[in-house]
């Protein structure tokens, strides 16, 4: 009796697992909601506002995917994850995709069995020091105390960098960016190091931002991007091309202001027509409606608009496009053609 119950439970579990493996895309459509993993809070990238609405650069990607799949940018269930819970949440199927400023590395892609579908922000690790220290280059930091988040790639990069340059440092381990701010300001450490975007956001929140400088050295590559589980390529394609559609839209000059006109009827530019579904069957190939990309772009505008709204130069964070400009402007954003 006991045994048969046990086997019964196993069968149910196996069947359920089989059903889930049928495809994340179908699951999302059946559910009517996209479960998107985000950070519990990172300035400019993801945080709920005073009304409880999630806002931010990573949030924009989630909304675009939801709009592409379900036609509704608000059909997202945001699942907040910490640095420690993010990968298990994705691997266990609690979330369909993770858009949580996660660095694309070899071991995460290969060993942890995830699939990075692209890069939505090219970041790099930098240093911030008080101006009063009189340091102009990271190579002058011999013997400095450095505030650093534990358990991140930044910690390893820092060790590598100081060893290569044959200088010494004393780490001050911290848990979150929010903890680092007061520690750095009170002088518990001479240097604060994290991703350059994080440094900019931290510095912007200081009372006197002018008293602190970000050193010119960028010591690591941190391509941040959304990721999905291994082994479900159809769903990976959907997320990848939703992100690509946002970037391509900027390149092709499609904005939230003119998309209604451009998408209403086929225009002169065949690539825009294919992107917006007025020509060709790209949507059907993905298993989505013809206007999937149009919906994705209308969710929050094209890549450039999302960037400007959340982290661009007119926001308190004030990041310039830098590496994240289109390839035509000297940046690294270069999407394959929509054909």
């Amino acid at each position: 009796m006991k045994k048969s119950v046990f086997f019964g439970a196993m069968t149910v579990a196996a069947l359920a697992a089989g059903a889930a493996a049928a495809g994340t895309l179908d699951d999302v459509k059946a559910r009517g909601k996209l479960n998107c993993g985000v950070t519990t809070g990172l300035v400019g990238f993801a945080a709920p506002d005073a009304n409880g609405e999630w806002q931010g650069f990573d949030v924009g990607v989630c909304r675009a995917v939801a709009a592409a799949v379900l036609g509704d940018p608000s059909a997202v269930e945001f699942v907040p994850t910490t640095g420690k819970t993010r990968f298990t949440a994705l691997a266990s199927g609690e979330i369909d995709m993770l858009a949580r400023n996660t660095t694309w590395t070899f071991s995460r892609d290969v060993d942890l069995k995830f699939e990075f579908v692209g890069v939505n922000y090219y970041d790099g690790q930098g240093f911030m020091v008080p101006k009063a220290l009189g340091v102009s280059s990271a190579k002058e930091l011999d013997g400095a105390t450095v505030c650093i988040q534990t358990g991140t790639t930044t910690e390893l990069n820092l060790a590598d960098y100081f060893r290569t340059n044959n200088i010494s440092y004393e780490p001050v381990p911290i848990e979150t960016n929010a903890e680092a701010q007061p520690l750095y300001l009170e002088g518990a450490c001479d240097v604060y190091t994290t991703d350059a975007s994080g440094l900019a956001a931290t510095r912007a929140a200081f009372e006197n931002p002018g008293d602190h400088v970000v050193l010119p050295e960028i010591i690591s590559k941190e391509p941040l991007g959304p990721l999905v589980r291994h082994g479900d390529s159809e769903w990976g394609d959907v997320v990848r091309w939703s992100l690509n559609a946002l970037i391509a839209a900027e390149e092709l000059g499609v904005t939230s202001a003119n998309i209604a006109d451009m998408g209403a009827a086929a225009g002169d530019n065949p690539e825009i027509n294919r992107l917006l579904g007025t020509e060709g069957t790209l949507g059907a190939m993905l298993g989505l409606s013809a206007d999937w990309a149009k919906n994705a772009i209308m969710a929050g505008g094209n890549y450039g608009e999302i960037f400007e709204k959340n982290i661009g130069e007119n926001t308190p964070i004030g990041l310039s496009r830098g590496l994240n400009a289109q390839w035509t402007d000297g940046g690294l954003l270069y999407v394959p053609p929509f054909r």
């Binding site: 519990t40 809070g41 990172l42 300035v43 945080a47 298990t88 199927g93 200081f206």
Partner: protein, 438 residues
Amino acid sequence: MTDTNTTPVAFVRDAMLAQKTPPVTNAGIVGWINKNLFPNPFASIGNAFSCLLTLVSLLIIYKIVAGALPWFANGVWDTPSLAACREVLQGVTGGCFSVLTERWNQLLFGFKYPSEEYWRPTLAFIGLFFAAAPVLFSKLPRKMLWFTAVYPFLAFWLIWGGTILVPVMVAVGFIVGYFVFAHFEKQSFAMGLIGSVVAAVVVWSFAGYITDPLSGVLALEPVPSRDMGGFMLNFILGVVCVSLSIPIGILLALGRQSDMPIIKGICVVFIEFIRGVPLITLLFVANVVLAYFLPPGTTFDLILRVIIMITMFSAAYIAEVIRGGLAALPNGQYEAGGSLGLDYAQNMRLIILPQALKISIPGIVNVAVGLFKDTTLVSVISMFDLVGMIRGPILASTEWNGVYWELFGSAVVLFFIVCYGISQYSQWLERQLATGHR
């Protein structure tokens, strides 16, 4: 023996002198200061040291007040962001309390609880006092206990919403279980217990067929568990886990003292295992590891998982506290109960536990206060309790990135009020119950 005084007495006082007031330097506030703060420094080394200490303390107090007072007095209460607040302050020391006025609702209820429904948890919170009062103060009319019995179901309905039939059917299951227990108890305690559990489970499994089609009856807007947050979440976790873990802890403590090897073994292993594992590990298990064991797509309410884990944790600690109370009772109490012809259940219920629990009160309160504060650990598994709200969403918003003292200070105040209240109550209760064992 009367005339022993041969010489005549020149003067004998025949009236008592009226009491004089002590010298000004020895009485009242001046006397107190003279004695405690500034004793004559030349009299002894100790006195000199005492004076020095007073001066140093005064300096420290002045520094604290002079530092903190302008921070409170110049506080800004009505700006939309930190930058605007700093603009108002113009470099003057002052707190940006406007983060509290703008985000108070998120601190108390979390950022996803619908704002037009705030009255529901508030009402549940007020009800908590009325429900807890007859349990905490034995002088209140016993009829109030009826409200206490109804309260858990009422509070669930208010906070989570949905149809009232769900909590009603759960309550019906308990009532049926109780009647079955009362019926079979005369034959055997264990049989009553098993019978009541079976009856309750039967009722609950049939209740689904009733509540599903009638989901609109007296329905409040349902709020999923994911949307709970803020201080409300700390309170839900604290209250539910403490009230569940006391009965479970009693059972575990009794089980650990049992003569039956299997029951004793289970209880010992459970208690020692849970006490050997940090709470945060259990929370990670609840959040992360369980998801691997359950079939994909199963959603098992996260709050429920966390409640189970915290309850297990605190039940193990409370069991050990109560075991201490049981061990403190002299053996004669057990034997006296037995000699009156009471069986095990009656003996425990009527003789042993009332005394043992009385001894255990300080320890139980200690665990309860610690547990209430430990509920903030859920912020690590990405639940937005009070501390989680501060560390996550509020400090990560572009408006309030960089406000620390005001936010964490308010969290300190909220937790202090609750924990100090609990400890004051327990001291009062100990004085009330101090009828013997001196």
